[in-house]
Symmetry: C2
């Protein structure tokens, strides 16, 4: 049995999820916290890498003792409380489950969802500065409609080479996008996209391209040609990392989450 | 003519609005920014003091050159853009107006509104930790109803001595509360209160007392007796500063805001 944690983090102060030498990472902070809390060294394996500044609302990470002789004795469902004083304020546990030994938090993923948050007030918003991308030109209702018309072209099974960071070493860039839409919530524009997998920078390039559609740089129907081209240069700019949130992960089996 | 700025700030890194020697204050940051931007020393006068960690969504501050020979030549409505590169990311200008020489941003106030934000998930939320008070016990629908029934007793003209920090040197603690209510927005509980003036810690003591009503420490109808007692010890605890936002200020004259 392994312990699976669902965590939320504000990624502003981290080099990303993945541990890197001499840089603060979420993985490092989490590994230190569980090891200190349980009293023996543990390994922590995440569901995904995230870039520097990227946030998470439902990141999944599996925790195991390094020495199999050690056992986690805190009952599942109580770990978040025990961990509270070991975790920094920008990371917290919002769900716990037990999973079997063959479960892998990355390889068992069936589907993931990201949120990309923007805001479009003319003024800079100090409460959004590290948590949403500031679009300096307001998005009109028509612009939002254009974004969603463009988004519809991306849903389905496609080769997303045009929406992958140039220089990525992925051989097969086919992915299935299950859903993609943009909604306005007050001054926020929330893009939500779910897929069976994501290429490097895929959500950020999709977001940049959809905002170009909002402002008339592209027509919504251009998206079909951009996908067809399989050329990163044809798509729009890469949106910055600080608006991106890994929001949900679905697995190839039922997980009995204790959610708080 | 004076320049009146409406500002938003995340108060987490400041000792409060008011300048204090050797401490970072919003007033100091704002004074430095306008002086650097305009090219001559300016004074900045705020509508209110705020405590360390308290935020603002619509704080008003008047800007004047120290030497009356100097004149602000940037047209009103363009100042927020000019100031952008002089202000730290946690302070921004979201409105501008011209006001007459006799206008005082504090003495001309007729009414102010505060927002006090709470959240009640069982887990700590890293996105709320410095911006809302974490109620560790969820507030039920009945608890919310109790809070609003209690709140209704506070609306009107009362002596609010029971809701003033002990040791305050205010002679007359009569204030008129125009509106006070608590609404749920997802995991947030937002208390909004407007009044002709506020005593020291008044919103935070009101908030602490209303949460006590939610959990059954007080009955909603106890509020009448608590007000009557004119004794700080009869009211509930003081909620922490980091959930408090000065949200709006109304003046004794029409202000022609250029709002963005």
């Amino acid at each position: 049995m392994k312990l699976l944690l669902k965590i939320r983090y504000d990624g502003t102060s981290y080099c990303g999820y993945q541990a890197q030498p001499d840089k603060p990472s979420v993985q490092r902070a989490l590994t230190d916290a569980v090891s200190d809390c349980f009293g023996f060294p543990c390994t922590v394996t995440g569901c995904s890498r995230t870039d520097s500044g990227v946030h998470a609302l439902g990141f999944c990470a599996a925790v195991e003792p390094v020495d199999p002789q050690n056992r986690i004795t805190i009952p599942t469902g109580r770990v978040h409380r025990a961990l509270r004083r070991f975790l920094p304020a920008d990371i917290s546990v919002c769900g716990e489950a037990e999973v079997s030994g063959d479960f892998h938090p990355r390889y068992s993923v069936l589907r993931k969802e990201y949120l990309y948050r923007m805001y479009d007030t003319v003024y800079d918003d100090p409460f959004e500065s590290s948590r949403a991308w500031h679009l300096k030109h307001p998005v009109t209702d028509e612009g939002l409609t254009r974004m969603n018309r463009a988004a519809a072209h991306m849903v389905g099974h496609h080769d997303f080479t045009s929406f992958m960071a140039a220089g990525s070493k992925i051989v097969d860039a086919h992915r299935t996008v299950y859903s993609l839409n943009v909604q306005r919530n007050g001054n926020n524009l929330d893009l939500r996209v779910s897929a069976d997998g994501f290429l490097y920078n895929m959500v950020r390039i999709i977001t940049g391209t959809l905002t170009d559609c909002a402002y008339g740089v592209f027509e919504p129907d251009d998206i079909a040609d951009i996908i067809q081209a399989k050329d990163r240069a044809k798509a729009g700019k890469t949106a910055p990392p600080h608006g991106l949130y890994l929001s949900e992960v679905w697995y190839d089996r039922e997980i009995e989450w204790k959610i708080f």
